[in-house]
């Protein structure tokens, strides 16, 4: 069966790939492009560990076909730090110990980045609702929420 050729921009680099019609975006990211930061946990859009930003919107990469990404711009966890410098959210997650086993962390970071991109000063309730699509089975939500709120505060002070 003929493979589908797809042209995208991933983390600001032009990336072309060939995929099977049934490959999910997550399959291609992890198995072909070696971008293994996005995790597959549930595979059904419930856990958010495969979260990426597609054309500015937060999505589950397990619930889209790789073929659907034609012409799109993708951001994955691998593009979050710049020139070896961690993103403020990554730095704060480390400082606040907002992670335990770490499997959910890339998804939480992408979701938190998408939130602050859309809403730079969210309330705690807004953070909790926004992150409701990301599950942490070590159950460390409080530290994650606090880290996101602190980054939002820091951004306000430096603005």
């Amino acid at each position: 069966m003929a493979k589908i050729q797809v042209s995208t921009k991933i983390n600001n680099e032009n990336v072309d790939y060939l995929c099977e019609p049934h490959d999910t975006m997550l399959d291609v990211l992890r198995n072909q492009l070696e971008l293994t930061g996005s995790k597959e946990s549930c595979g059904s859009g419930d856990c958010g560990s495969c979260s990426i930003i597609l054309d500015g919107e937060l999505v589950c990469s397990c619930l889209m076909l790789a073929a659907e990404a034609e012409g799109s711009k993708l951001e994955t966890i691998e593009g979050m730090s710049e020139g070896g410098k961690l993103h403020a959210l990554q730095q704060k997650f480390l400082e606040k110990a907002a992670l335990q086993c770490g499997i959910c962390t890339p998804g939480f970071l992408m979701a938190s980045k998408a939130l602050l991109d859309h809403n730079p000063s969210p309330t705690e309730t807004e953070v909790r609702f926004w992150l409701a699509g990301n599950l942490c089975r070590c159950t460390g939500y409080d530290k994650i929420v606090k880290a996101v709120l602190e980054v939002a505060d820091d951004m306000k002070e430096s603005a």
Binding site: G45, E57, L65, G133, N134
Partner: protein
């Protein structure tokens, strides 16, 4: 899914032709948040997946005349939410749609997909029925329009024939002193499926109700339009006696399933309660409270 082909259609005609040629083995793909889960779990095994998101009519929100909207079937929750005028005119439709899944799901999931998936508990459907939406359908034999309350014929079953596609939803022109609301009951506060959903859409002028539509979801094999409710509500001041009367009618018309998320008695009782609360919320919205 290994034999599945993928086609990104760029026109309605291309999508409809491909679907009818596949003779029942094709599925339209909008957000994919239901379809991909169904394919992965083996519930559906389409030979062809037709991506409709690149078709202009499906992916646009148009105000065809003052306060009269047509929303494409593949428009996502986040995109509809960005249209401030639509959000102001149809807060109930928007809150119903926005209840579906997480932000990740909202980034993809479409209004048309929620309708075509055909779940009796789909959150957007009672709100759309209450709104009085018309479904615009395209197929191999041309276009047709049907009221959204006639779209579902059973759990997972719709009026769409082979080759037919839901193109968009036409909302009635929004009159002044009108608003809507959608409430649902779920065991959890987020990321859950409705045990009961209720959409209410009212016009209320000088303390008199001049138009009303009430719809219930998850309490019957298909979402229900409660026609008797309109008859009682219109012409009244929507006092507590009227609301009690309509609430009882809502409960009488419930024919729910009994499952781990809600018993028949519970779903029936909650339907009556949600009708009253959604109506009071709608009146508050009209009064600007």
């Amino acid at each position: 899914m290994s034999d599945t082909q993928y086609l990104a259609a760029s026109t309605i005609e291309e999508a409809v032709n491909a679907h009818s040629k596949a003779n029942g083995s094709a599925r339209f793909l909008a957000g994919g948040t239901d379809l991909l889960v169904q394919i992965k779990s083996g519930i559906r095994k389409p030979n062809l997946v037709i991506d409709v998101k690149k078709i202009v009519e499906l992916n646009s929100i148009e105000e065809i005349s003052e306060n009269e909207f047509v929303v494409g079937a593949s428009v996502s929750g986040v995109n509809l939410n960005r249209n401030k005028k639509f959000s102001k005119l149809w807060p109930g439709v928007l809150e119903a749609f926005r209840l579906i899944g997480s932000e990740q799901i909202q980034g993809r999931a479409s209004l048309g997909g929620n309708i075509c998936n055909g779940s009796p508990a789909g959150d957007s459907v009672p709100a759309l029925i209450a709104a009085g939406c018309i479904a615009l359908i395209a197929g191999p034999n041309g276009k047709r329009e049907i009221p959204i309350e006639e779209f579902h014929i059973g759990p997972g079953k719709t009026v769409l024939d082979n080759g037919e596609m839901l193109v968009s939803l036409k909302f009635p022109k929004r009159e002044i002193n009108s608003s809507d609301a959608y409430l649902r009951m779920t065991p959890r506060t987020e990321m859950d499926i409705a045990v009961v959903g209720c959409g209410v859409n009212i016009t209320f002028e000088n303390n008199v109700c001049t138009a009303a539509r009430v719809s219930l979801g998850a309490v019957a094999p298909t979402p229900l339009l409660i026609r008797e409710a309109s008859k009682i509500m219109v012409g009244s001041d929507l006092n507590s006696e009227i609301l009690d009367k309509v609430s009882n009618i809502c409960m009488d018309l419930c024919d729910p399933i009994d499952d781990k998320r809600g018993t028949i008695d519970y779903r029936t009782k909650v339907a009556g309660v949600l009708f009253k609360r959604a109506t009071l919320t709608t009146i508050d919205r009209i009064k600007g409270n």
